[in-house]
Amino acid sequence: MSEPILKTSRVSKSFGGLKAIRDVSFEVAPGEIFGIAGPNGSGKSTLFNIITGIPFGPNAGEVWFKGKRIDGQPAFKIARMGLSRTFQKDAEFPDLSARETLAVSAVFCGGLDRRQAAERSEEAFALVAFAPHRRDMASAGLSVFEKKQLMIASALVSKPDILMLDEPASGLTKPEIQALDTLLRNVNAAGVTILLIEHVLTLLMSVSQRLLILNQGQQLAEGEPRAVMRQPDVIEAYLGKRTQ
C-alpha cells in the first residue's frame, strides 16, 4: 500500500469501566473507499469520534493524518486540515438555508471568502446532485435524503482529503440508497478518500475496496470485503454461534 493518508495506532477509548475501543490499528490509502462495519455497539461511531476529536479524542494510541499526528489537536483544526465527517443522527443547522450551510462551511473550514464560498458551494451542490430549487430552503424543511445530501455537500465544500460518513444510508429508501451509491462513487472519483460506516451491507459491499470489522470495540477482521465477510468469526459476530 502507498503511504497511508490516515493511520490509527492502537487507539483506545474508555468511558469509566466500559472499554468502547480497544487497541484498534488500521491504515487507509489515498483515494480508496474504506468500509467499517460491525454489530450495534461495536464502537464504529466511537472510532469516528476519536479520529476527528468530535466530541472526544482517544484515551490512548495515536492518530496520524497526512503524516502528522492529530490526536490531541483541537477538533475544528482537524476539520480544517481536511478530515471532514458526517453524523449518524440527522445533524443540521435548522435556521440556515442549504446555501448558507455550505457557505459557512466553505468560509470556516475552507478559509474562502464569500465569493469563492458561493462558487465552491455550487460545485458541491452539483457533486451531490442537490436540486437547485431547494437550495434556498431552510434546512429544517428538507426531506431526509436531501438532509443527507446537504450534510455530505457541506463536508465536501471545503475540498477535504478524507470524507468520513457515519451510516449515510440509514432512513433511506431503496432508490435513495441507489442514488447514494452513485453519489459516493462520484465523490470518490473526484479524488476524495472515503471512510464509510454502514449497516446497509449491500451499499457497503458495493462501494468499499477494503473493510474493517469491529466487534465489542476490538478489531475482528480487515481486508477485501467479500473475503472478510466469509470469515467464520465475522459471521459469528453478526449472526451468533451455530448450535448443533
Partner: protein, 319 residues
C-alpha cells in the same frame, strides 16, 4: 405581513421616530423614548449572544454597568468630554466582556448562567467597595452633560438627547444587522443549534462564544455611557436584578433570535408600564399586569412579538 412590507417596516418605523420630537414637544414623552431607545440597544445586543448564539449570559447588564461607570468616571473624575466618555464605555465594556468570556466559553447551560450572574454581582460589589472612585452605594451625581459649542443639551426639553439616543439605536441596529448577516453571524446560529456539527465544519465554538460576548458588549457599553451622561447619575442599581429582569423580558417578549423584536418590545414595555402607572390603582400593580402580558404572549407566541407578525404573512406554497 408581506415580505416587502417586512423589509421596509424598519425604515418606516425610523421615519416615524424621526418626527416624534416635533409631535411630542414635552420633555417627559421624549424622556420615555430616550429610555426606551437605551433599553432597546441593551436588549438587542443581549439578543446577539443569547438569541443568536445560545449563550445564557446573565451578566449582560454588567457590560451596561461598566459603560455607565466608565463614562461617569471619565467625564467627572478625569474631565474627559462626554462625547468621548460615551464611546469609551463601549471599549471598556468590550474589554470586560473579553475577561468574562474566556472562562465562560467552555461552559454549558446552567453553569454559564451561574458564572455570568456571579460576575454581575461581583461587579456590583466592586463598585460598592471602591467608593472613593465610584461613589459607593450613593453612586455618582452631577456628571457633566453633553454640549455642542454653545448648545446645551439640558435646556432643549431633551430634543438633542432624543436624536443622540435614536442615532445610537440606529448605529447599533446597523452593526447587529451587519454581524448577523455575515458568515460569522450564520456560524453563530450553527453553534447555537448543533455544536458538534459546527466543529466538524471548522468552526471554533469557544472562539465564536468569546467573540459574540465581546461584540454584544460594545454597544451595550456605549448605551451605558450615554445613560450616565444623559441622567447625570451612575448608580450601582444598574447591576441589580431589577434592571436585568426588565431587559431580559424585552428580549423574550420581542423574540429571541430576531433583530427588531427586542427593539419593539423595549418601546412597548416602556410605554405600557408608564401608561399603567398613570391609571389610578395600577401604580403598584403595573408590574403584575406586565408579567401577565408576558406570560400570555410567550404562551401564545413562544417566538415573541415578531413571530406574531410572521403569522400574518401569507404561507408559502410547498415546493
Amino acid at each position: 405581513m408581506t415580505s416587502s412590507l417586512r423589509r421596509f417596516a424598519p425604515l418606516l418605523a425610523l421615519a416615524l421616530l424621526l418626527v416624534v420630537p416635533f409631535l411630542a414637544t414635552d420633555s417627559y414623552t421624549r424622556h420615555l423614548f430616550i429610555i426606551a431607545f437605551i433599553y432597546a440597544i441593551v436588549a438587542a445586543n443581549w439578543n446577539l449572544s443569547l438569541g443568536y448564539c445560545g449563550v445564557f449570559n446573565f451578566g449582560h447588564l454588567t457590560f451596561f454597568g461598566v459603560g455607565v461607570y466608565t463614562a461617569a468616571i471619565a467625564a467627572k473624575t478625569f474631565g474627559i468630554t462626554p462625547w468621548l466618555a460615551i464611546p469609551l464605555g463601549g471599549i471598556t465594556a468590550a474589554g470586560a466582556a473579553f475577561l468574562i468570556a474566556a472562562p465562560v466559553a467552555r461552559l454549558k447551560g446552567i453553569y454559564v448562567v451561574l458564572v455570568t450572574f456571579a460576575v454581575s454581582q461581583l461587579a456590583m460589589q466592586l463598585v460598592l467597595s471602591q467608593s472613593q472612585i465610584t461613589g459607593g452605594g450613593e453612586g455618582m451625581v452631577r456628571i457633566p452633560f453633553l454640549q455642542l459649542g454653545d448648545y446645551s443639551f439640558i435646556r432643549d426639553f431633551k430634543f438633542g438627547y432624543y436624536y443622540v439616543a435614536l442615532g445610537l439605536l440606529v448605529l447599533s441596529t446597523l452593526f447587529l444587522r451587519f454581524v448577523v448577516q455575515s458568515p460569522f453571524g450564520k456560524a453563530l446560529l450553527a453553534v447555537r443549534d448543533a455544536q458538534d456539527y459546527s466543529t466538524a465544519r471548522g468552526i471554533s465554538v469557544s472562539r465564536q462564544r468569546i467573540l459574540v460576548l465581546v461584540l454584544s458588549a460594545i454597544f451595550t457599553g456605549i448605551a451605558g455611557g450615554f445613560y450616565a451622561i444623559y441622567l447625570r447619575v451612575a448608580s450601582p442599581e444598574v447591576f441589580g436584578f431589577g434592571t436585568m429582569s426588565l431587559v431580559l423580558s424585552m428580549v423574550l417578549l420581542g423574540g429571541v433570535g430576531t433583530l427588531y423584536g427586542p427593539i419593539a418590545a423595549a418601546l412597548a414595555l416602556t410605554f405600557l408600564t408608564e401608561a399603567l402607572a398613570g391609571i389610578q390603582g395600577f401604580e403598584e400593580a403595573r408590574f403584575i399586569v406586565v408579567a401577565v402580558v408576558m406570560v400570555l404572549i410567550l404562551r401564545l407566541a413562544p417566538g415573541g412579538l415578531v413571530s406574531l407578525l410572521d403569522r400574518l404573512r401569507p404561507s408559502r406554497p410547498a415546493s
